[in-house]
Structure formats: structure tokens, C-alpha cells
Amino acid sequence: MKKQVEEKQDVVIRFAGDSGDGMQLTGMQFTTTTATMGNDLSTFPDYPAEIRAPAGSLAGVSGFQINFSTRDIRTPGDAPNVLVAMNPAALKANIKDLEEGGMLIVNIDAFTDGNLKKASYAANPLNDGSLNRYEVYHLPITTLNTNSVQGTSLSKKEIDRCKNFYALGLMFWLYERPLEITTQWIHKKFKGEIAAANEMALKAGYHYGETAELFKKHYRVPSAKLAPGKYRNITGNEATAIGFVAASQLCGKPLLYASYPITPASDILHELSRHKNFGVKTLQMEDEIAAAGAALGASFSGGLGLTGTSGPGLALKAETIGLAIMAELPMVIIDVQRGGPSTGLPTKTEQADLLQAMYGRNSESPLAIVAPSTPSDCFAMAIEACRIALEYMTPVIYLSDGYLANGSEPWLLPTIDSLPKIKISHPTDAATFKPYLRDEKTLARPWAIPGTPGLEHRIGGLEKENITGNVSYDPKNHELMIHLRAEKIARIAQSIPDAKVFGKEEGELLVLGWGGTYGAITSAVEEMQKRGHSVSSLHLRYLNPFPRNLLKVLNSFEKILIPELNLGQLAFLLRGLYSIPVKSLTKVQGQPFKVKEIINGIEEILKTRKVETWSEKRLASPQH
């Protein structure tokens, strides 16, 4: 019996289960297949801080959400249309997000008394009517999976581990996706009976959908109208790593990446350490300070020195970054932001390190800051970070976040020719060389590297005499150098593109964002534009210095709304710089913005009269 097919524009599915249930893997497999089918997509993995919290516990729930579409999309979706819940804890933790009337597929085998208790369910939600608002499918997935894996000598535990493939197979059927990519992957990843069992489970799930009475119809999400070309699906961390390799190739210098593992930045280290054949040197150092030091050492010796971490690690690198500023050496520091303060919510996303990046060092220590806006933009901004560091002889902080790092989207591969060129020169002439004699345009100092005869010189963290670079405690020289360092960073603006407004270039409201909120903001603004409001948006990828046209753009709008996953850090920076009133829309929950939340914020501000001053709680406002 051929079942009915319904066409949909976009679908948001969330897979949720125990940390041991393989939900991340399931989600990723669904993503790969969906990507190659030509849908636009966006994903959001969300996993706990524990490796594997007690089976069945709320703390152990791991989720993976994918939004795929026949249209251009920018976020993993606000509310899932479909929730696959592998156990009671997964149901409990996720059901509140499922859209009204959404499809809920539950593995009823996992709804034992023990598991219900672990999930703090007083009564079994499957029977108490609490799920009436959804289209619920009660599936004994564990049993179905066991039945499907036949003729193997695998243990019950091993067989049970295949059940995520069973669920995946079912979802493939439900959304008309082919099995080949995943079957190939299974055989690359697993061997022998395990591989066979996983494949059996996958196919059985698919056929269950096709044959069982339960599902009346399935769905088709036609491919999207994407720009033509070669695509791959990419996460932010992958794109970051590959971007650095690209930068290294573009400037003709091997890269050295020194790091100390920390979630959610570790994958950059993992990815880069696989590319030794690009001459990439990776060092896992004893701590973040050493990692920053090793990167700076590489820079001193003429290399592309990079170091990566998350917020707490950035704090530890502060003193070394200060040295890089004084020594005026190129270096990129990656901060994949996560929830804080302190250890905070280590696997969750946040944008709260902007002010740390700006000011988290002793004294006046300006540096450049860039921030990618989407997973694939990580590639472009990684190259930009290196370009700025090398052209301006300065440390650059690259602010990614957990959402970008782990989220993925299809990426139209750029041609090598389209990538920016990065020119570097090293002085060799002893007669004219002075360590701090600057380039007139960029104010960069010359980068004389060890091994160059006649250019032997000494630098360090003490204040430098202008031009010679000798140690100097002269008051006027100090002041000059303080200004020169600031001016050099300011001049970077010469080399960065103007910020582009999405929508009209003037109007009532500008929604200004940075980093991983791009998708949510743009979708929200697009929606408001459709509804006829005078709303535009601007997304900053360069945070210090800002694009040259920023103030002009800001002045072209009556009101400015700044949504951020912090208590208003960019807003604060803009007020501090321009004394202009801007309004913050903040969310600090370890979760990305939903489009709806931004729409609400926009509606709110459109209703409000323009105000001269908004003071923010984050600054410990003393008015009470």
C-alpha cells in the first residue's frame, strides 16, 4: 500500500533521548542526508555537561534539533513540529517546546516505573491525558528494534544500542529520505555484526513506517532554491578550523595551534590536529596560559600562532595577550563562548565575553575583535582574523559561541580564487631595520624573524621606545606609545567592509546584532518587514574596530534594538562610544534566541516612544 504524501515547506524535528542513546549521532545522520537532498537546513545540538549522567535522569537528556526547508532558513527553528522522545526524561525536558498539535513519537518501552520516577513523573504522561494536545505515536521502539535485529550473536545491550538507527529509519521514511548515505556511514564506522545490526535496524525502522498502519501519510520537503555550486554541511567549529588552515595557505605560513581542551572549543583542536599534512602543528599544552604562550612564541619566531579556548580560558590568557599587545605580534585567540560566570553552564551557549575580550587585561590594551555570524561564516571570519593579525601585527580575538560551534548549515564551497590574499613581508635589511618603525598606513611594526642575519633584536613586555623598541620609561614616550597602539587598532577599520543593512537604510527601527544571533534576528526582521513595519537589521562581524559606516547607519534610525545573549554588552559598548541611546533585548538562559522572542521585542519597542536614555541593570544601576 503506497501511502499518501504531503508536501511541506519546512519541518523542525527534535531528537531527544538519554546521553547514551546516540541522539547526536542520529541527528547528524539525518542532517547529512537532508543536506545532500538539497534542503536548506540549520541544526542545534544541545547536550548535558555530564559525559553520561545516570541513565534515564533529566540531567542526562541530550537533544538534537534540525530545521530543514524548501526555503532559505536561518535558524534551527523555534518550536519543533516533531519530537522523538526516547525515554520519559527526554519527554519531560522537551515537551514544552513542541508546537501545539505537533507530532510526538515516544518509545513506550522506556516508560517503566523506574524511568518515570527518574524523570520525576508522578503519573505516566502517556495515559494521563497530558499529551492530548499533540499527535502522539506510541511506539515500542526497543522491542521493534530487538525484533528487527536477527541472526546475530550480539548481546541484548549491543542490540539495544541500535535503536536510535531504528528511530532514524522511521524518520527517513516519514520525510522521504534515502538510506544510502547512512548505510555507507555505518559500514565505515562500524565493523562486522555491529554494522550489520545497525543497518538492519535502520531499514526496519524505514519499513515499519512504510508498512505499519500507524502512519497514514508521509511528507515531502522539496529541495531549496540554493545558489548553484558544491555544498557540504558544516558546523561552526569545523568551519573555524578549516578557515585557519585556509588562512595559513593564503599567507604561505604553516599554522601552529596551541590549546588546552575546553568545551565547546575542543573540536577545533581535534579538527586541526587531523590536518598535519597541511603542515599544521597542534600542541595540547599544560594549560591555557601555556597555550597562549606557545602560540605567541610561534608568532615571535615568524609563524601564524593561534590559540583557542572558551571564556574561563580566555581569562587565563589575559596576561599573555597583554604581552602580545606590547610586543605587537600577530596572534589569533579563539573564544568559543559558553554560559557563565565561572564554570557556569559549560555546554550551553552565551555571548557574554564581549567586554572581557575588549577589557579583560591590565591597562590600556586595545586589540581587534571579530565575530562570525553563522556556522559557515566561521570560515570567512577565521581568515579575516588572521588577515588582520598579520597585516596589523596585533592579537585578534575571534568570538564564536557554543551555538555556532556545534550548529551546522549547508555551505556553498568558495572557490580558492575568491578567498582574500594575505600579504606578509619580513624585513631583511639591517641598515634600515628598526623594530618599532611603523608602516605609515597601517602603523604595523616590521616583523623581523629569527634566522635573519643582522636583524637580531630584543623585545618584551616593558614599555618600548618609539621606533627603536628599546626599553623606555620616558613619560612622554609612554603616552605616545599608548596612543599609537590605540590608533593602530582604530586604523584596522580602513581594511574592513562597510556594514550592510538588511532592509531599508533608514527608518523607524534598526535591530543590531552580532555573532550567533544572526539567524534569529534576520528571520524576525524579515517577518516584521513582511508585516509592513519600518524595521531593518544590521549584523556586526567586526566588533573592534567597528565598520566605518556604523555611526552613520545608527543615526539613520529612530530607535535601535540590540538583542544579545548577555545583559547588554554591545549596547553598553555603543553607548560608551557614541553616547547614543540604544535598547537592549537580553536573554541569558544558555539557549539561543527564538525568532518569536525577537519579534516580541521588536513589537514592544515599536510601541514605545523614543527614549533618550535606557539604563541597564547589568551596570548595577544605583537608581533604587
Binding site: 547529512t32 545532500t36 538539497g38 548515505i181 522539496p222 529541495s223 531549496a224 532554491k225 540554493l226 545558489a227 548553484p228 555550486g229 558544491k230 555544498y231 557540504r232 554541511n233 578549516i242 588552515v245 585556509a246 601552529l256 596551541a258 590536518h275 598535519k276 599534512n277 597541511f278 603542515g279 599544521v280 602543528k281 600542541l283 599544552m285 599544560e286 594549560d287 601555556a290 604562550g293 606557545a294 605567541l296 612564541g297 610561534a298 615571535f300 619566531s301 615568524g302 599573555t320 597583554g322 604581552l323 610586543a327 556553498l412 564551497l413 568558495p414 580558492i416 629569527p450 634566522g451 642575519p453 643582522g454 637580531e456 633584536h457 630584543r458 618584551g460 613586555g461 616593558l462 626599553v471
Partner: protein, 347 residues
């Protein structure tokens, strides 16, 4: 990149290694003597001047790079070994020297020190041990003796000191030595050995701080006292010392014992014979526990063993990867993983 010594070096002299900066140590500071010996040994190594890098932390000792006319990086307190690791990893062709103090290396920088030693990062670490914080005007350091009165310990220090040699050995160091600022011969010979060691070479140098800890090493610097208070280590030779070279070290049940040659039938054959190449570091550790006043202080090379260095291992890994996978091509990297094409007019 070629090896450290590959380029044919011009004949260099001590003067080539004198920079144009005024030396700013206190008159009489032991650092002067060390600087002089460093500048003497460098030209002997056959390495082009531009291939040396001197890296230091913060402290009086750490000012040394300014005075040596090579590439130099005066970094931040305690971090020189980490920064030097980056330099040597990126540029195996450079010879890297780390200049540090007892506070810089053992207090704030202790972790970087032990990790660069265990990794066998190919650099020469000169620890100027004056048992005090010089630059910050006289607080006790991790090598200051128990009970020492300093600015920060007016009632005497309650911290038991670290033994730098024991610590280095506990951290798997492949080369460990000790010498004194005032003994130019021992100093230059140890520096030379360190320079020739392929791998981390850790050298503790007793250094006199005339201002804040004068005569801290009197028992081994004083012409009268020194021969009774030190043992000059020589590979393959028994541990003999004393003005009359009639005293020696014997070991029984792991415990060292001072004996007199010729007394009670003791001969050289009863003494411990110095073996700097002993694979097991236990022997060198034993030596490190010979401390004054009970025992004469050993000077010279405690341990020197060969082990592939970190930069070599790193380079080999890259070469092997390139041989196996081919030299990386950017286009291939971008297009790695599952890819698909969108045609010009897809629906």
C-alpha cells in the same frame, strides 16, 4: 628548515654577542659573570648568531636577553618555557635558550618548567638561583632556606624549599646540571655541555645577589671552604672531594655516607662512581639529595641521556602525515566530508 648547526657559521667572537644595551644589574651581582660566560660559549658553538633566541621571564636574571646580541624575547613572569616551546616547535632550526630565576622558574613558572622538561623540548634552561626575589626587592623564593627572614617573612619562612634538581628529575628531565656564577671554569663547561645536549637541558646556577641575599652560597664559593663542601662530578669517576681529595661518598641501603680514603681500608672501589648517562634517573636523584651542610654539594652534570626531542617528533609526524596523505590541498580540504551539488535551476 635546516638543523641548528647546518649553516656554515662565520667565525664569531664574544664581542659579536654583546648588545648595545647598558647592563643594568647591581654592581657585584653574580649575573654579570654568567652573562660573560654565556657570551664566551655562544661563539664556540658554530651556530650563526641569528639562529639563537634567548627567551626569559621576569626578574633580575630575566634581563639577560637584552644584553646578548641575538634574537631575544623578555616575556612575562614564569611563562618563558611555554613561549620557548612555541618557538622551538615552530622553528626547530633555532637554538633556544631560556633564562630564568628561582622565582620565575620554580614559583609562578613551575608548571611550564616541568612540562617542557618532560616533553624534552629542545632548549637550554638556565635557572639563576639566588634563593631570593631580587627584582621585587627581597622576598623569599621557593629555594630560600626554611626559617629565612625576608621582607615577606619577618618571622622566618615556614615553607620547606624545593630542590630544583630533584624536581627536574621528578619531571623526567634528560639533562640536569648545576654550577656556580663565580666558578668560571665549571660554568663555561656546564654551559657548553648544555648547549650540546639535544633536548631540554636544565642548569641550576648558584648566583649571588649582593643586595638581598649576599653570600648565600658561601660554603661553595669561599676559597677556604669550597673544596670540602662540593663535589665536582666527572663521568666515570668516583665521587671524591676535599682539600686533599681524600674524602668520598659511599652508599649503603640507599643512604649516602662520607668516608675517608685510606681509613678503615676504604679505597676508591668502595665509592659511588659517577654515571651521568644512567638511564634510570634514580642515581641522579640520589645525587640531588646530597645537600649542605651534611654533604658536599655536587656540581657538574648530574644526568645526560638521549631521547628524541619534541620538535623532532612533531616534524616527523608532519612528514609522515604528508607522506601518507599527500601534502594538503586546500580545495580538497574544503570539499572533504559529504558534499553535493546544486545545479543552476534546481526547483
Amino acid at each position: 628548515m635546516v638543523g641548528e648547526t647546518a649553516r656554515v657559521a662565520p667565525a664569531l667572537t664574544r664581542q659579536d654577542f654583546v648588545s648595545d644595551q647598558d647592563v643594568r644589574w647591581c654592581p657585584g651581582c653574580g649575573d654579570y659573570a654568567i652573562l660573560a660566560q654565556v657570551q664566551k660559549v655562544l661563539p664556540e658553538l658554530g651556530i650563526p648568531r641569528e639562529n639563537f633566541v634567548f627567551v626569559s621571564g621576569i626578574g633580575c636574571a630575566s634581563r639577560l636577553p637584552y644584553y646578548v646580541n641575538t634574537y631575544g624575547f623578555h616575556t612575562i613572569h614564569g611563562r618563558a618555557p611555554a613561549i620557548a616551546t612555541g618557538i622551538k616547535s615552530y622553528r626547530p632550526d633555532l637554538q633556544v635558550w631560556v633564562i630564568t630565576g628561582d622565582g620565575d622558574a620554580l614559583s609562578i613558572g613551575g608548571n611550564h618548567l616541568i612540562h617542557s622538561l618532560r616533553r624534552n623540548v629542545d632548549m637550554k634552561i638556565l635557572l639563576f638561583n639566588n634563593r631570593i626575589y631580587g627584582l621585587t626587592t627581597g622576598q623569599y623564593s621557593p629555594t630560600s632556606e626554611f626559617g629565612k627572614k625576608t621582607k615577606s617573612t619577618p618571622f622566618g619562612s615556614i615553607d620547606y624549599p624545593l630542590n630544583p634538581i630533584s624536581l627536574a628529575l621528578g619531571a623526567e628531565a634528560t639533562f640536569v646540571a648545576r654550577t656556580i656564577d663565580s666558578d668560571t671554569q665549571s660554568l663555561s663547561s656546564v654551559l657548553r655541555s648544555a648547549a650540546h645536549h639535544k633536548g631540554s637541558a636544565f642548569v641550576e646556577i648558584f648566583q649571588n645577589c649582593v643586595i638581598f641575599n649576599d653570600d648565600a652560597f658561601k660554603e661553595v664559593t669561599d676559597r677556604q671552604l669550597r673544596s670540602d663542601n662540593m663535589i665536582q662530578l666527572e663521568h666515570g669517576k668516583p665521587l671524591i672531594f676535599g682539600k686533599n681529595r681524600d674524602k668520598g661518598i659511599r652508599v649503603k641501603d640507599w643512604k649516602p655516607e662520607i668516608v675517608t680514603l685510606g681509613q678503615n681500608g676504604i679505597t676508591e672501589a668502595d665509592l659511588v662512581v659517577h654515571d651521568e648517562h644512567s638511564a634510570d634517573p634514580t642515581y641522579a636523584f640520589f645525587l640531588s639529595r646530597l645537600e649542605s651542610p651534611e654533604f658536599p654539594v655536587p656540581l657538574g652534570v648530574f644526568r645526560s641521556v638521549e631521547k628524541e626531542t619534541q620538535d623532532q617528533l612533531l616534524e616527523h609526524q608532519i612528514k609522515a602525515a604528508q607522506e601518507k596523505m599527500g601534502i594538503g590541498k586546500l580545495e580538497a580540504l574544503l570539499g572533504s566530508g559529504d558534499t553535493w551539488f546544486i545545479k543552476g535551476d534546481t526547483k
